[in-house]
Every structure is written in C-alpha cells, then in structure tokens.
C-alpha cells in the first residue's frame, strides 16, 4: 500500500531563490501530519506543489500514488485544500458557497443534500446558512472553509495554517473537527506555527530554510532531545542571568520562555551547581531551578538554533 502523500527530493526554485530544497517525506493514510517551521521556511510552497498549484522544479510529489505534475486533474478530485487566506466568496451566503463547491467538486446529485447538511452541522452553521459569508466571524469562516474543502469526501486534506487569526476556543473546536475527520479515514496534512497544535499531530516535520530538519512523532522528537537536559530557571534578573551563564562549559543554549529561561545542558546535576555559583557571584537571586521535560516548542527552538549555527 502506497502512502497517502509522498514527496521525494522535491525542489522548488523561484528564480535564484530556492524555496524548497530537496525535501522528502511520506504521510500514511489516516495520519495527521503537522508541518512546522518559521514563516518563509517553505511549508506553503510544499503544500501548493502537492495541490498542483505550483509545478516542481525537480523531484516528485505524489498524492494517493498519483504524480501531481503528471496527473493534476486526477489528483484534484482526491484532495481538499484550505489556503492560508480565507478563500470563499464573501458575497454569497453560506449555503450558496456550499452549493458552488459541491458543483465544481462534482458531488453526485443524490449525495449533495446529505453532504450539505453534514457540512452545515459540522461547522455549526445550520442556523446561519442564509447569511452572507462576509458577516461570519473568523472561527465560523474557517469551519465553513474546511467544510467546503471536504464536500467531496477527499481522501487527503491539505490545510495551510488553518487556524491563524482565530481565537483559542475556535482553534480547539477546529482541532476536534480535524480529529473527527482523521478518525473516519481522511489523511490530513496541516501547516501551523502554533506549537501546541504540533502536539496534536500524529507526526510532525520541521522545516527550516527550505529543508526538513526534523521528522517524527512529537514524543520521539522530544525524546531525541533528551540527549541534552532541560532546566527551567527563574531569577530576579532574566537578561543578566542569561549573560552570566552563557558560554559556560556544559551549557548548550539558553532561551527565554515565559517568565523564565530554558537552559539546555549536558548534565543537569553539574550544570545546576554551575549555574548557582555563577548567579551567586553576579548577585542574582534564584527563584526556581529545576529539570523539566521538553515541549515541542523547545524542540523547535533547539532545532532551529542548531540550524542557524550550522549556517553561520
């Protein structure tokens, strides 16, 4: 059985700029695959190639075993795409948007009514099916956009930053929908820069400057990071503490995290003593110093900083 989405040595260049640099990855059927990375890392470009909106410079992208560049029309029947920008028709009502996409996705006549009521129910828009789309709030628009993208029950769904600009409650509700879709067999390929959302994914790929720099289940990525240990440090003066402990042997990295610092170290025991000494001699008061388990955000920051160091 072939993977739902396969990307093999994909390169996409815009003139001299290489947006996607030899990316390879595979997403299994029914999987929720999260694509993370800073803005401009090339996530959207990969999705656009997979949706047939851009043609690859070299390499290969397959959806459902079909080459996107060779059989774009076949591929388009099997995917749903939700772009970063809200892209339904503002001037049409909720129902009219659904009818339109139902028509162009070629949903069979006898299935249309059922699909429409499913989408209305799923998006919670049954009461508002007659209102113009421009009048909907962000969360509703986004659920409607998702609904329109799944009218034809596509095996694979591409969601490009679907939750940007949506409040936390709506984001949560949206992820519940994504789980629901995944549980009935949809493969979901989603980009995001919210690290908490990355935790919801079955597997994530981390993209940086056009390359995939980490790939795996969130738990695995965090475990890999445990080669180093992470300390949470809270002090009376954050910036002074950073300066005091930076460049000390055994301390790999410091990053501001909320009200404290996350310090990546080789040996937590030795490093703790070292930090206490260094801060005491600088006259900084330690409020909290403890080993913690890394979050996806730590993984993200660590990987990105490692890449930055490699490049400079």
């Amino acid at each position: 059985m072939s993977a739902a989405v396969e990307v093999d040595n994909l390169v996409k260049a815009f003139g001299d700029f290489i947006a996607v640099d030899h990316v390879s990855l595979a997403v299994e059927k029914g999987e929720i695959f999260g694509f993370l990375g800073p803005n401009g890392a090339g996530k959207s470009t990969v999705i656009r190639v997979l949706c047939g909106l851009l043609s690859p410079t070299s390499g290969c992208a397959r959806v459902g075993g079909r080459d996107v560049a060779r059989e774009p029309e076949q591929v388009r029947k099997t995917i749903g795409y939700m772009s970063q920008k809200f892209s339904l028709y503002d001037g049409l009502t909720v129902e009219e948007n659904i009818d339109f996409f139902s028509g162009i996705y070629g949903v069979a006549k006898e299935r249309r009514k059922e699909r429409k009521s499913y989408v209305l129910r799923m998006a919670g828009l049954e009461e508002r099916k007659g209102s113009q789309t421009r009048l909907l709030s962000g969360g509703w628009k986004q659920r409607l956009a998702l609904g329109c993208a799944i009218l034809h029950e596509p095996p694979v769904l591409f969601l490009d930053e679907p939750t940007s600009g949506v409040d936390p409650v709506a984001r949560r509700a949206f992820w519940d929908l994504i789980y629901e879709l995944s549980s009935v067999g949809h493969t979901i390929f989603v980009t995001t820069h919210y690290m908490d959302e990355a935790e919801y994914c079955h597997r994530v790929g981390l993209m940086y400057a056009g390359k995939v720099v980490a790939l795996g289940a969130p738990a695995d990525l965090k475990r890999d990071m445990k080669a180093y240990s992470l300390l949470n440090l809270e002090t009376s003066d954050l910036l002074a503490s950073m300066r005091a402990i930076e460049n000390q042997p055994g301390i790999r990295d410091t990053a501001v995290f909320g009200a404290g610092l996350h310090v990546t170290v080789d040996d937590p025991q030795a490093a703790s003593a070292q930090i206490r000494d260094a801060l005491a001699s600088s006259g900084i008061e330690i409020r909290r110093l403890e080993p913690i388990a890394p979050s996806m955000e730590d993984v993200f920051v660590a990987v990105v900083e490692a890449e930055e160091k490699k490049q400079s």
Binding site: G52, S83, K85, Y89, G91, S102, I104
Partner: protein
C-alpha cells in the same frame, strides 16, 4: 467539460452579478449614457452655418442672391453689416463662420452682362467645417448663376432652351444624408465593445485578489469551464445592453432599421462572445483589478473609437494603422450594424465579417484558457 461544473460556475457568477446592484445598474445605464452623449455630440452634419452679409449694392438683384442663401438650410443669416470690415470682426468673435460681401456695382455689372463678383470669407481655422461650408456656398452660387445665364439666353432666344446636362442625384440608404443614421449603428457596436470588455475585465482579477482563484485551481474545475461559465453569465448582461442600445437607437435617434432583426441578434451575440472573452483574457493576464480595468478600457475603447471606422474611415489611414485595424473586432461589427441597419443587407454580403467575429471569439477563448492553465508562478 462537465455540465455540472459549468452550471455551478454560471450560477455563482449570476449571483455575483445580481448581488452587486450598483455595478449592474451602471452596466445597464451605460449604453444609454454613451448613446446620448456620442449620438448627439458627434453630429458631423454642417447646417445652419452662421453667416453675415455685407450688401453694398442694396438692389433687387443683390437681395435675390441673399435670399438664395437664406432659403438654404445650410446657411443662417445672422445679420446684415453696414461696413465691409465688420465681416472680419464677426468672424474673429465667432459670431459668423461665413461672410458674404456683395460690392456696390453688382447689379450694374449683371445688367451689362459683365462678370459680377461676390466675395465669400470663411473661417478656415476649422478646416473641415469651412470646406463643407465652401462646398455648399459654391453649389448655391453655381445654381444661381446657371439660372441667371439660362434666363438670359432664353430671353435672347425668345424660347426655352434645354439645359445641356441635368444631373439626377439620388442618395441611397441615408437619403437625407444625416450623419446620425451613419453614426448610431456604428456607435452601438463601439458601445458594446467597451461595455462587454469592461464587464468581464474584473472577473478573474477579482478572484486572484480575493484568493479564491487559488482555491479554484486546487479543485477539478477546468479553465474552459471557468471562462465559459463567466462568459455566459455576463452574456445575459451584454444581451440586455444590446437590446437597450438598439431600442434606444431606433426610438430616440429614429435610425432606420432596414435589415433582419434576427441577423442583428445573431451577429451581436457572436460579437459579444469575442468581446466578453477579451475582457476575461485581460483579467487573467493582469491579476489585479486596477490594472485589468485600465487595460480593458485601453484595449477596447481606443481601437473601437479610432480603428473601427465608425467615424474615421479606415480606408484613409496610413497602411500600418490600417493593418492593425484588421484585428479590431469592432471594425467588423461596425460594418455589420451599419450594413444591417442602413442597407438591410444579409449574410450573402456580410459573411466575411461574421466569419472574422467567430474566429476572433474562438481565438481569444483558447488564449484565455491557456493563460489560466498556467500555475500560480
């Protein structure tokens, strides 16, 4: 091509059109506006030319000559001047375009069978009107002097002599030579070209700007279905515009309609295809509504006005420009409307124009779908 997808696009576009009431009303008011503006303002008729007279002779003969001018519908006597030099003043102050000066010995010279001079002074700064006025004045004077001569000869011979050549003039198709009859049918063609390409020039650029184009490109909908669906929706508006323009031309401007309404409808439809596709093509090329609108206006208005032959005869243009005019669809449609309205001719004569309009529509359609098939970047 899937009828289901085509229907979905058509329905969606129709909804956009109906929702955007202001644009729709404007689109329907435009043909009337253009027709009234150009139909009345673009009169090429030269009549009631303001004329002043200096009659130095004050004789029955000189008054008879002035009466000839006054009786012609082309001249309107604005005043009689007491001094020859006042003519110059009248022309300088734009009170008159033509001054007629009859000298003191006019009747005396006529009576003695000598040549009697009449001086015509014309404002040549508007050379076109001046030369037309000159032509009219010449005709009036020739006719008058011919009559005087035959009267003299008849008198001498004591009998009626037959005149040597008598031209029997008959102007066909526009017997009163009114320029509106010639302008209005062509104007209808020009108006439709402008409106049709403006109607559709925004339609794809808007989708690019709104981001909906990206969504559409990810769906199975094909470029041909999008282009056709959009064209069909605006075709409804274009047909309404055609109807308004034709009815207004016939009722307000009293333009004779001698040909077949069916042929007019069919050729208008054919022309609309091409013009609407042209707007869509512009829209697909520019991707921004502002650029699309300007390009649409520029590429429809200018060629339709200047190169269609609706006022300025294409035959008189320098060869390179004439060559360009061959690819201006309005040129063919102007020929068609003028031919159908005024001459009442049919397909047997107009088939070339019809064929070209068909080819133009098909070519632009193919070009547009090809343009749309290109990816985001």
């Amino acid at each position: 091509m899937s009828p289901r997808r085509l229907r979905a696009v058509l329905q969606k576009e129709l909804r956009h059109i109906v929702r955007d009431t202001r644009s729709l009303l404007l689109a329907l008011a435009l043909p009337l506006l253009f027709l009234v503006l150009f139909g009345y303002a673009l009169s090429l008729d030269v009549d009631r030319i303001p004329t002043v007279v200096y009659d130095g002779d004050q004789s029955p003969e000189s008054r008879d000559l002035i009466q000839r001018f006054a009786a012609s519908r082309y001249f309107q006597i604005k005043g009689f001047l007491g001094d020859y030099h006042d003519i110059e003043h009248s022309i300088d102050t734009n009170q008159a375009l033509v001054g007629i000066a009859i000298l003191r010995d006019y009747s005396r010279r006529l009576d003695s069978g000598q040549e009697a001079d009449v001086q015509l002074l014309l404002d040549g700064s508007d050379s076109n009107t001046a030369s037309i006025a000159l032509g009219y004045a010449d005709t009036v004077l020739r006719q008058y002097s011919f009559e005087l001569r035959t009267a003299g000869e008849n008198h001498k011979a004591g009998m009626l002599l037959p005149s040597p050549v008598d031209a029997q003039l008959r102007v066909w198709y526009n017997s009163s030579l009114e320029s509106k009859n010639f302008i209005v049918p062509g104007l209808i063609a020009v108006i439709l070209m402008i409106i049709a390409s403006m109607l559709t020039s925004l339609t794809i650029a808007r989708e690019w700007e709104m981001g909906t184009m990206e969504q559409l490109l990810s769906t199975p909908v094909r470029p041909a279905e999008l282009v056709l669906g959009k064209m069909m929706a605006y075709f409804v508006v274009g047909t309404a515009d055609t109807l308004i323009a034709v009815v207004a031309g016939i009722s307000i401007f009293q333009v004779p309609m001698r040909g077949s309404f069916l042929l007019l409808a069919a050729t208008s439809g054919l022309f609309l295809f091409g013009a609407l596709f042209w707007g869509i093509f512009i829209s697909a090329t520019s991707r921004s509504q502002v650029v699309a609108f300007q390009l649409g206006l520029l590429t429809s208005f200018l060629p339709a006005m200047q190169l269609s032959g609706f006022i300025y005869a294409v035959e008189n243009m320098p060869p390179p420009i004439r060559l360009i005019s061959y690819i201006v669809p309005a040129r063919y449609f102007v020929k068609l409307t003028q031919g159908i309205f005024l001459k009442g001719i049919g397909v047997d004569i107009l088939w070339r124009e019809i064929l070209f309009l068909g080819l133009f529509g098909a070519a632009v359609f193919l070009l547009t779908t090809r343009k749309m098939r290109q990816k985001l970047a």
